[in-house]
Symmetry: none
Subunit: 427 residues, 2 copies
């Protein structure tokens, strides 16, 4: 079944409102294995709506329209649909009575404008709407079904779930299962991932791969189809393992999971605690870590030491070190990590110092120069990075890198540190 969605409203074509209805409908359909081929959005104009319906009819078997069923003058979907489908618009007396009853129950007189919500194209099958005055309806044509639904998200969602999806599942001949998983990758570019995976054959697992850049992550979405849950789950397990292996520990999380939640679980598992000393990330590391509920169990503190005074005072970074090597240096990052670990008594101390820009760079240390250091009982390691982008991107990348260091530390992926770090080495 090829599906086309049509969303109607001037607020959509003016960009005032983001079209979450289309995304909601598409997600609800793809959950049951129905693919949306096109989404068309147009304003509240009769000719545009008719045009959209004509075009949709040419290329889809199921057309789902939302919006324009309200009581006001600019709600013209029912009359436009009647014209496009060559049907008369007729008053449905039982719906009119029902509308009047609804208002009476709230001790209100029905406004005259609501009367139009009782007019439908001839032959339309009504889809009752318990949540509002705009009933949905459907019209059948040989090999086609047109659904018309209200645009109020709550009502649309309800009618999709309760009426449209069950009806389409009944109509559908094929019976196959669909399953997807999103692997979140950090540390490889989209094209590097594509290169690493180019010899993976998803077809072999009845699967397809899609690449979605989600700065600073890159997502690999696996979608599988099969005849049974067992088949699909088995294929997912095998394919996911192959992909994870090829991506060399750079898959930081899957689906709804996040890097921060993963790091939180690792800290908890190892009964470890973490303290952070941040300069160029300006609190972003702490902010990301503390977005996880319950993070107070393992996150002890962060000191955002923006000034040199704060670095000296709160972390014991020697003033001489800052004046000789600069606040942005491997040694200062290491002292920050060690200092915050010591003062807070945590298992791990993380230090980040760098130049987020746009100013403050030099030839030797241009904007984007960032040092990250991790201190633990066995020693401290640090590394210099040269990060691309603007201030915001450099801050985001630095924070991700620093948090990912903790993940890599526990998974023995932090080179030069591994399970038994000896002393100051450069990973």
């Amino acid at each position: 079944l090829r599906v086309e969605l049509i969303t109607i409203g001037n607020e959509l074509t003016s960009g005032e409102v983001v079209d979450t209805n289309a995304a909601f409908m598409a997600a609800a359909l793809s959950e049951v294995g129905l693919e949306v081929a096109f989404i068309t959005t147009t304003g509240d104009f009769p000719l545009s709506i008719q045009d959209a319906l004509h075009k949709a009819q040419e290329r889809a078997e199921v057309i789902i329209v939302s919006g324009g069923l309200g009581p006001t003058q600019d709600d013209i979907t029912a009359s436009s649909a009647a014209k496009a489908l060559g049907l008369h618009l007729v008053l449905r007396e039982e719906i009119l009575q029902d509308l009047k009853k609804r208002f009476a129950e709230r001790r209100m007189q029905m406004p005259a404008s609501n009367e139009k919500q009782a007019f439908f194209p001839q032959q339309a099958e009504i889809i009752p709407n318990p949540l509002g005055t705009a009933c949905g309806f459907l019209v059948r044509r040989p090999g086609k079904i047109f659904f018309f639904l209200p645009g109020v998200p709550r009502e649309l969602n309800f009618l999709m779930k309760e009426n449209v999806i069950p009806l389409l599942q009944k109509e559908r001949k094929e019976k196959f299962r669909v399953r997807s998983r999103t692997l979140k990758v950090f540390g490889f570019t989209e094209s590097a991932i594509a290169d690493l995976l180019k010899e993976v054959s998803p077809e072999y697992f009845s699967a397809s791969l899609a690449y979605l850049p989600r700065f600073p992550e890159n997502h690999v979405k696996i979608t599988l189809r099969g005849n049974s849950i067992e088949e699909v789950e088995g294929n997912l397990e095998r394919l996911e393992k192959i992909i994870r292996d090829r991506l060399q520990g750079r898959v930081i999380a899957a689906d709804e999971d996040t890097l921060e939640a993963m790091v939180g679980r690792l800290l908890r598992e190892h009964q470890a605690t973490l303290a952070v000393a941040e300069s160029c990330t300006g609190g972003l590391v702490a902010h990301r870590l503390t977005q996880v509920p319950g993070s107070s169990d393992y996150f002890e503190r962060s000191v955002v030491v923006y000034s040199n005074k704060a670095k000296i005072q709160m972390l014991g970074v020697p003033e001489s070190l800052i004046s000789s090597l600069g606040a942005v240096s491997a040694e200062v990052a290491e002292r920050m990590a060690e200092g915050v670990r010591q003062v807070s008594g945590t298992t791990l101390g993380l230090g980040i110092t760098g130049i987020a820009g746009p100013t403050g760079g030099s030839e030797e240390k241009p904007v984007g120069t960032v040092f990250i250091a991790l201190a633990c009982a066995n020693g401290t390691v640090s590394k210099r990075y040269q990060l691309p982008g603007d201030r915001n991107q450099i801050q985001t990348l630095s924070a991700y890198l620093a948090i990912d260091w903790v993940r890599r530390y526990f998974l023995n992926l932090l080179s030069g540190f591994s399970s038994q770090p000896s002393a100051r080495t450069n990973p």
Copy 2:
């Protein structure tokens, strides 16, 4: 000029991603008086993309396509465009060299998959993309222009603003002036704003108002039309003043400006410095403040004192106070503000403590209980808030409130504190 937008990506037709690009483009176009007639969305399939381009060509003069210009196999917009427009796809050597140079600058070898980003339909005019590897391009046909832009929002937004909009403004025959301004409001609900503005008559200024909720802000967008710049600017100035007056100092910024940038300017103007002690906001206050370039001039440090030990050790909050009143209390917030101000020697100290949830609430102090305190040379004030929403919303609202306190302090809007705060009072 009739405009049609085409957004491309399986993540859109599957409902995984909400199509904010379409809304962004539509809003940017309507800001300069260009109306979008249709938006078509389709997946990464050559025939679908060609179909969408053919249909758009029938009903619009300007067609703007976004998405599918990336380096991976599923990025097929350029080749599909070439087919739809009957053009050959050709390698543009200068773009290839430029791509290689970009990678070389980051000391990386260009992955083979990026090569395809140097192929364009013959006759295409390249739109350089300083923010990424996917260049945009445009193709002219008699009476039509097709724009092709990358789908990464940041890059799309940049190329729309810098290239597409200016070019369309040049093409356009009609000459009337359109101007818009977005006033960002914090501290009033959308309906409270509508009530406060209900007696404002925007028609009188040839203007219209739109209300856009942008949590935790609410935006009021003014759009004005007129025959000359002078007329439009004059009307904007008068109408904006009326609206700002009615909104009682709750307009925190306009257009691209932000609360943080505004607070930064105020601190700079008053040659004042700020240090922060945050608990429930977990670094978000510092993160927001340090997103502003040059914030190191006035932002001295933040201590994210997630543990009680950190509060006692770094800020001198008396242990007895925490054990008697709890870490979430007006007194602890005040001591945090005073402590961080004293240790860092700044003009102002800001303290935030609260319960972001989902756990940790009690009957007396439910989730969403937040105390904010501001300390200056003349004393300290604090206030208790009961904030709605989930963990993320409570953290965001708390951080906004705290940062807004600094703005209100300098503008003498912080009740109970005003210009000459005397001592500990409850605003």
